[in-house]
């Protein structure tokens, strides 16, 4: 069909682009034209290959050969050798870092396959509004298998053996949770899906609900069968109308097929699912708060024990799992515990979905096996830092997590390693920050969130976080004193130690982890009254460099507060007492004479 017999795919991802991949493209095209091959060979720029450390990347199709670190001057060689003569250019081929073997065929390059999609197996593949597409891809087979071939305790055993831990944050073993709920006797039990994904910058659960709602419904029914519950509830954020819409369609379709409702697949098992909407309260991600919210009350957490598995929704045994946890269940049932437990690390099995965002090139939704390193995620899958800036930190676990740094990049990610590093898995938000982000401001931002979202029930969270935020704001304003840093730490530790629920117990993590990892930035704020990242307005000073200033008066004319003085053709001066740091002068100056100190 195509008139071209050879395609040269050149990575146009941001990182490759900054390594002159655009010049590579031009040179390749010139070369092809020169050789008179324009009607046979086509050069295409693509999105990121996720191999930014080795960019620019050129892939030759249909040979499936990948060249790495291609320089503009290599274009000629590639065309002459490979395109014309059909010979691989050995020196540009990728070598396996372990065996040093040359790997030509990109299909065998594990580096391209950092991701493994279990939870996201159907996302972006099937039409979420059509149950048939789900069934065609083994949908509801796991439920069928559980109901007809397994006893409830066998289902629980498979989940236990798989080693899966809850993806909502704390990482409690899923199978154990089910077992506890199954052992508590009651006339009615409930299965609850926590879809109140509240971490700012996290959208894993939304994507699953929007892309593969049936996987969650199927898993809830399996859970219901194993613990002895006939009712399921999904607590979903009202801010997710699309997810709600698709869930409603999915529930209806499952009902029409008899995959929900009475006597499912002729086994006598009944299971129904209803939706409950959240209404914008982050704390409702905490399971006791979530249950109160579902009961029509303020979403305030209560002290555990009793755990929901003992006394949850309406006082009945209730099993609460989050979306991602559920979505993997059908695969675990179908493929077996052994298959699943082979993936991941010793104590954290399977894969984890992350929402990659912030100052990173490939913002997106990714799923990697547990044990993948931050470096692989950020610099390969994520395509590195935007605009070629320097990586500074990555925040995992949302407002409850911590900021990890350069030194954590090669740490395999799993539940325990993250906690040991002062952060947590959380639901899987991953926000990348670069050198322009002031870490004190970042900590302040997260506290701002916590202060907003604290339910107000317990004193340390209600008042303590407010005080933390105030102190951080003072430090950012340049009003901090060195003793404040000790106070910050003490307050943080006490809030962590005394708060009622997970929100307060983890809210100081951003402060503690930045104190641990970026003490120098804090000290710069309180001692030198400087913000190294240049983000804190009150700590910036606009200064005129006498060597560059020609006295053109442009800056003085644009200054809205007349802070700049100086005669024409003489060096100007900015009065820091008047300056409001609007930056207008710096923008106006044609001689690069104004800088920020």
């Amino acid at each position: 069909m195509s008139k071209y017999s050879i395609h040269l795919l050149v990575c146009g991802g941001t990182s490759c682009h900054s390594a002159e991949s655009d010049v590579v493209v031009c040179n390749l095209r010139d070369e092809i034209e020169a050789k008179g091959l324009s009607d046979k060979v086509q050069v295409i720029t693509t999105g990121c290959f996720g191999f930014c450390g080795k960019g620019p990347i050129v892939k030759v199709m249909p040979d499936n050969i990948i060249y790495v670190q291609v320089k503009p001057e290599d274009a000629q060689t590639i065309v002459e050798e490979h395109v014309v003569k059909g010979r691989k250019v050995e020196r540009l081929l990728y070598r396996d870092p372990k065996s040093n073997e040359i790997i030509g065929d990109s299909k065998h390059m594990s580096v391209f396959k950092k991701q493994l999609r279990i939870v996201l197996r159907n996302c972006g593949v099937i039409n979420p509004e059509n149950i048939d597409e789900y069934i065609a891809r083994d949908g509801y087979q796991a439920l069928g298998k559980a109901l007809t071939e397994m006893k409830p305790e066998q289902v629980i055993k498979v989940v236990k053996d798989s080693g899966q831990r809850g993806r909502g944050g704390a990482g409690f073993p899923t199978g154990l949770k089910w077992e506890i709920a199954s052992k508590n006797k009651a006339d009615q039990k409930y299965v609850v899906c926590n879809a109140d994904e509240g971490d700012p910058g996290a959208f894993m659960d939304r994507s699953v609900l929007e892309g593969d709602p049936h996987s969650v419904l199927e898993a809830m029914a399996i859970c219901g069968y194993s613990i002895g519950a006939s009712e399921g509830l999904i607590y979903v954020r009202a801010e997710y109308p699309m997810a709600i819409h698709r869930l409603k369609i999915a529930i209806n379709q499952a009902h029409e097929y008899g995959l929900l409702g009475k006597d499912i697949l002729g086994t006598g098992f009944n299971f129904d699912i209803t939706l409950r909407y959240g209404a914008g309260a982050f704390v409702c991600g905490e399971e006791t708060a979530l249950i109160h919210s579902m009961e029509g009350l303020r979403g305030e957490p209560t002290i555990k024990p009793p755990f929901p598995a003992q006394s949850g929704y309406l006082g009945k045994p209730t099993n609460v799992n989050n979306v991602e946890t559920f979505a993997a269940i059908p695969v675990i049932i179908l493929k077996g515990a052994e298959w699943f437990s082979k993936i991941g690390t010793e104590k954290s099995k399977g894969t984890k979905v992350f929402a990659l965002a912030g100052k990173i090139n490939n913002v997106g939704l990714i799923e990697v096996p547990m044990g993948t390193t931050l470096r692989e995620i950020i610099f390969q899958i994520g395509g590195g830092i935007r605009n070629g800036k320097k990586f500074k930190a990555v925040q995992t676990g949302g407002p409850s997590g911590g900021c990890l740094t350069e030194k954590h990049l090669d740490m395999p990610i799993d539940f325990d390693n993250l906690i040991a590093a002062g952060s947590m898995m959380g639901s899987g938000g991953m926000i990348v920050m670069d050198e322009d982000n002031c870490m004190v401001s970042v900590a302040k931002f997260f506290l701002d969130f916590t202060v907003d979202e604290s339910c107000g029930k317990c004193a340390p969270c209600r008042i303590g976080n407010k005080r933390l935020h105030e102190l951080l704001a003072r430090i950012c304003d340049g009003k901090g004193i060195p003793e404040d840093l000790d106070r910050l730490r003490n307050m943080s530790q006490v809030i962590k130690d005394t708060s009622l629920c997970g929100l307060g117990q983890s809210s100081p993590n951003p402060v503690l982890s930045t104190l641990d990892n970026f003490m120098n930035e804090y000290e710069a704020h309180v001692k030198d009254k400087k913000c190294p990242a240049g983000e804190c307005k009150n700590l910036m000073e606009y200064v005129i460099n006498a060597e560059n200033c020609v006295g053109c008066t442009a800056c003085a004319r644009v200054c809205p507060v007349n802070a700049i003085s100086g005669q024409r053709k003489e060096v100007h001066h900015i009065d820091p007492a008047i300056c409001i740091k609007c930056g207008a002068c710096k923008e106006k100056c044609k001689f690069d004479a104004i800088f920020i100190r």
Partner: protein, 160 residues
């Protein structure tokens, strides 16, 4: 505290009762009922809460306690074009605060306020899940992605 006095018309009361009935007047469904009421009225004035309280048998203080707990519920009407600036982390690190400041300046509003002509209201929200587009601004149903402070004036112009 700011309460706006409105007169409920008979059909309004009937509508609230209908909503409550559709949830079987079950107090457990209070939040779902409030969602439906807010969808219908645009906000939840005191009078609506009073009727809901009566129908569900939940003390009105408790209804108000719930309304003020959840940020999704509001007791003040929104403007014709409600503007929401996402302040989720992804948007924040990409400069959403500066965008918000620009809106505040252009409209002369603080978060939670409505312009005198009821045209615009300003609010912030936490993550709409469109982090790939950060910073994100919503005007009504429409999403604006990768908004810079300089874009603010143009966005507002669309609604003039």
């Amino acid at each position: 505290m700011s309460t706006i006095k409105i007169e409920l018309r008979n059909e309004d009361v009937a509508k609230i009762k209908e909503i409550c009935t559709s949830f079987k007047n079950d107090p457990q469904e209070l939040i779902n009922v409030l969602h439906s009421c807010q969808e219908h009225f645009g906000y939840l004035p005191a009078e609506v809460q009073e009727v809901v309280s009566g129908e569900l048998g939940v003390p009105v203080a408790k209804v108000y306690g719930v309304v003020t707990f959840y940020s999704f519920f509001t007791m003040t009407p929104k403007g014709k074009h409600p503007i929401s600036i996402c302040l989720g982390t992804a948007c924040y690190v990409r400069g959403a605060e500066k965008v918000l400041d620009e809106f505040k300046k252009e409209l002369g509003l603080n978060v939670g306020q409505v312009t005198k002509d009821n045209k615009f209201s300003l609010s912030s929200l936490r993550c709409v899940g469109a982090c790939g587009l950060a910073p994100v601004v919503l005007v009504g149903e429409k999403t604006y992605g990768r908004v810079a402070p300089d874009d603010v004036r143009n966005i507002l112009k669309e609604y003039e």
